[in-house]
């Protein structure tokens, strides 16, 4: 792999071909916020919070750093009025869905995002797809997937697989930026395979 020289926030950064701007920035200890990115997963480019300004060949455009490949002489700015304004709007849009997600609340404080900017429509899931992709790419189990399409898309455990695999794994739970994934699992468990993890009946103490 050949070396690629680029500039990020005024700093000369050396990266290798095939890396993303986000990789290069992190390698140079420059932080860029992300929501749908995970080091062990293929870049997804869904949340768009990692957007940065990238200037190449006289053109300055906004790109998602998690998927944009590095190229020679690229001049990247990870913060600017434009970048911050868009990150703030993206956060406000997501806060309408998951108003109490700790990760979102933290970022909102950094970018001055107003959690009440848009009409609330809590679905809790922010469609980062971490659970779905982790289960597919790392565990190769596909116990959780997306169902439906577009604005009606949601995550769903597949009962036939989840009843066998999930109790022993649950590796996706800590990835979820909201508590939706666990809630979805508990609901599915109660409805589809209640015997898999017996719970004490009410009024009785656990032996």
């Amino acid at each position: 792999m050949s070396d690629v020289h680029l500039r990020i926030d005024g700093k000369d950064v050396r990266a290798s071909e095939g890396m993303t701007v986000l990789d290069a920035a992190r390698g140079a200890h420059i932080s860029i916020p992300t929501l749908c990115q995970h080091e062990r997963l293929e870049p997804y480019g869904g949340c768009r919070i990692c957007i940065v300004e990238a200037e190449a060949r006289g053109q300055n455009k906004l790109v998602a750093s998690c998927v944009h490949p590095v190229e020679a002489d690229l001049n990247v700015r990870t913060r600017s009025d434009r970048v911050d304004r868009i990150r703030k709007t993206v956060l406000e849009l997501l806060l309408a869905r998951a108003p109490d997600s700790p990760q979102l609340v933290d970022l909102a404080a950094q970018y001055g995002a107003d959690r009440d900017r848009f009409e609330k429509d809590p679905s809790f899931c922010i469609h980062c797809g971490l659970c779905v992709r982790y289960c597919n790419e790392i565990k190769k189990l596909n116990a959780v997937g997306f169902v439906d399409r577009g604005i009606r898309k949601e995550i769903s455990f597949i009962p036939e697989i989840a009843s066998k695999e999930c109790n022993n794994c649950k590796e996706c739970f800590p990835l979820c930026p909201t508590s939706y994934l666990q809630a979805a699992f508990v609901l599915l468990e109660a409805l589809a395979f209640p015997s898999a993890s017996p719970r004490p009946a009410s009024g009785k103490t656990v032996a």
Binding site: G45, R48, I51, L62, R97, F118, E119, R149, G150
Partner: protein
């Protein structure tokens, strides 16, 4: 029946000559448009009526009969054209057929009542090409539709089909073909307008094997159907273009991604592919050139976003149709990570034209940045609805008035929406704008795939923006936040504004959401989605302000911002509206002035429609309070008829 396989260019030339000599240009032939539009108007019955009638009158061997693809003048279908005189009959019913068959063909008589009548001058036109709708067009790509039966490869070969393929395979190198297409400056007709030759070159030079070529026939814009009509009416022109492109790029595998909702296109394409293969124009060693090429048809399930090339690729691979980030571009890394060249149906159909006539002739039509012709579907509040092919550079005004015949019902033109749902609205003051990729983009709209929706003074531009944003919200694939969440919020706000619940600051919020979607969305759907809002705001800001500040809809269109009111001075108590009102909201009686009970009224507008124009008593109001109903004791009308004179009224 097996047909002889053509194994050399000479054999094709011989067949072409044979077939065209059989088509005597002076012998009569009836062409019936059997495109989807005309079929919906009953063209099937017209075709069978002609068959029966020819049998009955013994015309079968004397007169040709041909079901063709779409002629374009869909407003007046079913269309029947009789050659060689080109006599054009519109809105033909099976009952008209015996008369057409005997009079027109035996005695060469014209049937007056079926001719085109100019809506203003009342002048009648006999020849198809003299009808103003056709006269001002330039039908290079779409023209052959009229001359061939799309289910017959012989028809296509007879008019010179596959000649460009021969030229490409035997007289040109792949590099020369690419150079020719580059010189023609052909730009993608699917929307983005990227230079086709450049795209081909990238795919040719990209490392990787095999390479793929794809026809994008996933036309999803509401009201647009030019790709469908081309695929239905002249599938071989698309296949020929694809073959030439594949040879130039170095690909042996092609896919046609066509919507399942286009059954006739799927059918005619399938027939065309089979016939081409039987004739040796597809498959192994095409015409003895050593070039192999195979095509598979993939039927799309109707997701608008699958017209986006990266989503289309995923869908072809059998995965959910969601766009993926570019770069890498499909030309470098596309289908199954191999170099893939995707072009729109119309782009492919332009290729044989360029090869046959040469880049210079092609590039002589159009503007600096946009060459050749473009097919548009002209719909909405326009007299002549249909498909029109015009040279690039034609002023929009000519499309609306010369070809489209203007706005029906004496209404005023307000705007033209171009470029599909994520295009923009062009106001009256810009009607002299020349049609071209860059010109339309500069005006805040876009070429898109070629939709043109005409709107008149009764159209509310805020509501138009709301409608298109709603469409795009529904069609968002849901992957990225600016599109999925941003459009949803935009739709909510626009919906609120049209319902009279707009707030101070809404415009600014919409602008911010637009910026976020434009700048940060993953694919072109999200990046262009705010156009309907931004362009209407740019040219019709006063309408937004009237809705928000005065709760008034200037076009008197938004249901929740209007009220219907009967002017007591004009009401003649005729009972018509009272009887037609579906909610019984109108109080009154014979000789008693009618009054609308606003609490019961649902603003359906029936009363306005049925009130006789000589009274014109019903009014639409917006932004002003409805006057209180006149007091009960003043509602009686005193008629001065003879009877009334004899018998004094109660008061």
């Amino acid at each position: 029946m097996t047909v002889p396989r053509l194994s050399s260019p000479e054999e094709l030339a011989k067949l072409s000559q044979e077939l065209s000599s059989r088509r005597d240009p002076n012998s009569p032939c009836v062409s019936i448009c059997a495109g989807t539009g005309c079929l919906a108007c009953g063209a099937t019955d017209v075709v069978s009526a002609f068959k029966d009638e020819f049998e009955k009158q013994g015309l079968k061997d004397k007169v040709g009969l041909r079901s063709t693809g779409c002629h374009g003048f869909c407003e007046r279908g079913p269309i029947v054209v009789i050659d060689p005189e080109e006599t054009c009959y519109l809105q033909v019913a099976p009952g008209d057929v015996p008369e057409i068959a005997s009079a027109a063909l035996n005695e060469n008589k014209i049937i007056d009542r079926l001719l085109y009548v100019h809506q203003v001058t009342g002048e009648k036109t006999t020849r198809e090409s003299d009808i103003p709708f056709y006269k001002n067009q330039r039908r290079l790509v779409f023209g052959p539709n009229r001359k061939i039966d799309p289910q017959s490869i012989e028809d296509y070969i007879a008019i010179g089909g596959y000649r460009a393929l021969v030229k490409a395979l035997f007289e040109m190198t792949p590099e020369q073909i690419i150079a020719e297409v580059k010189e023609a400056k052909l730009r993608g007709r699917g929307g983005a307008g990227f230079l086709t030759g450049v795209k081909w070159e990238i795919a040719r030079n990209a490392p990787g094997d095999p390479k793929y070529v794809v026809v994008n026939c996933d036309e999803g814009d509401p009201g647009a159907y030019m790709d469908r009509s081309l695929m239905e009416g002249n599938p071989h022109s698309v296949i020929e273009g694809l073959l030439i492109g594949a040879y130039a790029i170095g690909s042996q595998h092609g896919f046609v991604y066509v919507r399942q909702e286009y059954p006739l296109a799927v059918k005619n394409l399938g027939i065309a592919l089979r016939q081409a293969e039987e004739r040796g124009l597809l498959g192994k060693n095409i015409l003895g050139s050593g070039f192999d090429f195979h095509v598979k048809v993939h039927r799309g399930a109707g997701a608008f976003v699958c017209g986006e090339e990266t989503a289309l690729i995923l869908s072809l691979e059998g995965r959910p149709g969601e766009p993926r980030p570019r770069p890498p571009y499909p030309a470098v890394k596309g289908l199954w990570d191999k170099p893939t060249n995707i072009n729109n149906v119309e782009t492919w159909a332009n290729v044989p034209l360029i090869i046959n006539k040469g880049a210079a002739e092609f590039a002589s039509i159009g503007t600096d940045g946009s060459k050749g012709t473009k097919i548009f579907s002209l719909v909405g509040k326009i007299a002549n609805t249909g498909l029109v092919e015009v040279p690039m550079g034609i002023p929009l005004r000519d499309v609306v008035y010369k070809i489209g015949g203007g706005i029906p019902g004496g209404k005023k033109f307000k705007a033209m929406q171009t470029g599909g749902p994520s295009g923009g609205c062009i106001p009256e003051k810009l009607l002299d704008l020349e049609v071209g990729f860059d010109e339309l983009t500069k005006a805040g709209s876009m070429m898109g795939s070629g939709g043109m929706i005409v709107m008149d003074e009764d159209t509310c531009m805020v509501d138009v923006a709301r409608y298109f944003i709603e469409f795009l919200t529904e069609e968002s694939c849901g992957k990225c936040v600016p599109c999925r969440e941003g459009l949803r919020q935009m739709h909510r706000i626009l919906d609120r504004i049209t319902k009279g619940k707009g707030r101070e600051g809404d415009i600014e919020t919409l602008e911010l959401l637009s910026e976020t979607a434009q700048e940060a969305s993953l694919c072109a759907l999200g990046k262009t989605a705010p156009n309907p809002f931004l362009s209407t705001l740019r040219y019709f800001r006063d309408e937004y302000e009237a809705h928000i500040k005065e709760k008034r809809c200037p076009a008197l269109s938004c249901k929740e911002l209007i009220a219907f009111y009967i002017d007591p001075d004009r009401c003649k108590a005729c009972l018509i509206c009272l009887r037609k009102c579906p909610t019984n909201a109108i109080d009154g009686a014979k000789n008693k002035i009618h009054v609308i009970d606003q609490a019961k009224c649902t603003n359906c507008g029936t009363c306005l429609e049925v009130c006789p124009t000589r009274f014109a008593a019903v009014q639409k109001l917006s932004g002003v309070p409805v006057p209180p109903p006149i007091p009960e004791d003043r509602r009686m009308i005193l008629r001065k008829s003879k009877e009334d004179e004899r018998r004094p009224s109660a008061d």
